[in-house]
Symmetry: none
Subunit: 208 residues, 4 copies
């Protein structure tokens, strides 16, 4: 719908060339001159269509990012409402979540790669940190419910935080090494299983 507005040929070309450049050099080192030159336009065109360099970045990765966040938020909302015990047993769920993630990631592979590896200097440069913060809160809430029924145990926040990182990094790794959805799932599913186990083993520690 919204895509029908602002879809001039030049705008598309700009996005296309910018994507290539951001992919290759990252946001900070990408050259607007190069991008607009490749597109057969002048730098001013970027300012017409996107306002500034960050706007162009947004034009390239924005919608993909939004799709990704939709999948994640939907899942997180469910998670916080579910029981932890239920969670740990519903392995299928993780696979379902993983599948959705893999879908959205591989349907927007260039954008994801840019976002995850080339966003330094852009307004999305702290996107992953923000994502980890978000995960952290969800996981801590879940672990606290879990701990509530385990006498003499409390949440090991440090370990939990690290597991968030590992999980995110698993996806980064996947993007870098697995060329398509199928092989991506072949990689990420066992990894997720492993992480769920680790989660169960390490999320709690003995009360002081």
């Amino acid at each position: 719908m919204t895509d029908k507005i602002n879809n001039s040929e030049s705008r598309e070309k700009l996005i296309e060339c910018a994507k290539r450049e951001f992919l290759e050099k990252g946001f900070a080192k990408a050259s607007l001159r190069k991008i607009t030159g490749d597109a057969g336009l002048t730098t001013g065109a970027v300012y017409f269509f996107f306002g500034d360099k960050n706007g162009l970045f947004d034009g390239v990765v924005g919608s993909a990012l939004q799709k990704l966040m939709n999948v994640i938020e939907t899942h997180f909302t469910q998670d916080t409402e579910e029981d932890f015990l239920a969670y740990k047993q519903q392995y299928g769920d993780h696979d379902e979540f993983a599948k959705q993630l893999v879908d959205v990631i591989y349907d927007n592979l260039d954008e994801m790669t840019i976002l995850l590896k080339g966003s330094a200097g852009s307004k999305y440069e702290h996107f992953i940190d923000a994502l980890i913060d978000r995960m952290d809160k969800v996981y801590i809430k879940m672990a606290e419910r879990f701990a509530a029924v385990m006498p003499g145990k409390r949440v090991n926040k440090k370990m939990l935080h690290w597991l968030c990182h590992v999980q995110i990094n698993a996806f980064l790794h996947m993007i870098e090494h697995e060329p398509d959805k199928e092989s991506a799932l072949g990689f990420i599913c066992p990894v997720m299983d492993m992480l769920v186990k680790a989660w169960i083993d390490f999320a709690l520690e003995d009360d002081k």
Copy 2:
């Protein structure tokens, strides 16, 4: 040894100020003017002592990097000569290795931080990738010996590679979150244990 040549006061001051700047902004965004200005010198001095910006970077992180690589190489050489079965049982060994790593890392914390988080654009920007390649080879060799005595199994290289990443990232994470050696060990030891377990569980897969 090499330190005895070219160790003028100015050279030291340059290294000191460069360390601060690289720490704060990373290699690419660091300004030579800022560095030399802070040192009470001019940019030319960098070119006299270090050849160029990358040389200065080398001057800052080079020796620490070498110390780190010594620890790692020593360990890797042992590893490839050891039996895998022996390895997996000698938990003390990992702790010993971890301790050595933590030692060298926390004795050169600034340099390590620069190397791991601020080397983009420098000649060491692929240092971690190289490290992982190195680890990969060691681990594959070990795993293959292991597989040789396990009928119907073969090495799961993909998973092995990922575990290398996780291990490296664990150290990055440690550097970022643990302020001193003691708390670093408190974090990294259980993590290493976990990874060894994961190694054993995931390094092999069924022969097709």
Copy 3:
């Protein structure tokens, strides 16, 4: 009259938004994009309605400027036909003139402010200089008639010219500091009296 042609809603809106922008930033720094954006139009509209940026400026201040000039010209025409001696005694006249000026100024306060403080770069940037030239001629003519009946005296053109400036600046000052007609008159009337006195005391000097 002329207003009946080209008085579309858009034209009015453009003038309105341009007035705000010129008031805030002055002609040179005003942005057509901002103006047309605020008006819900595009830059092209300015070129349709007004030809160019200067035309738009004209659209904003033109009619107010003309009204001002009418008041001034009417007065100047009278002045040059009057006797100087008569002039200096008819204090009421100055007040009448001042009142008319204050009227036209405060009825078009935004436009006057733009004209007097924000016209740099526009085709009216020398409007005040032109006004002073005009005043100069009138005052010199008057002073010469005066001098003709004062033996041993001649017109002090320099001082006369400066008094023109002071008079103009008094109005600028008034615009900036007095919010409404009443307080404006409270300020400008004594000032005008003072200037008339100064005029009489300083307009003539001893013939060499």
Copy 4:
């Protein structure tokens, strides 16, 4: 003394060419390319010698400005310590002050012209406003002492403020119209006399 440092040929040339450009176009519209081109250098040289465009402006007008402020501050400090009644009778004093001002102004005529007419956009753009504020305070203090001995009178701040403007404008006018010190004094001395008279006549008003 200090002038011996940083007086390289290029630096001087840059200042010289910048002076011409600022004089012609004012700070905001002056082009660094033009300036450095005229000086046979590149834009980078400005950043080496002066940091940025404002620094260059400072390089051009800074020392002249300081000299001017010294003269003014010295006089203001005396004024606030003097008796108003004494003040108004010591006409010679004004002439002395005027002479000093004319000296410093005509010894740095280009710089003064730039400062007074071409500083918009630079860090000195509010220099005149600041000066007027400063004058205002001095004059109000003087007038209040005066009023203290005049029963039924109080300071007319509005008029006083305007007279500050007139005084400043007189100097602006002088700079623009009088080519040398002699003719400048011939203009400014009677003007100052006139203003002193006006000061006495208008600085006080009837207590409500």
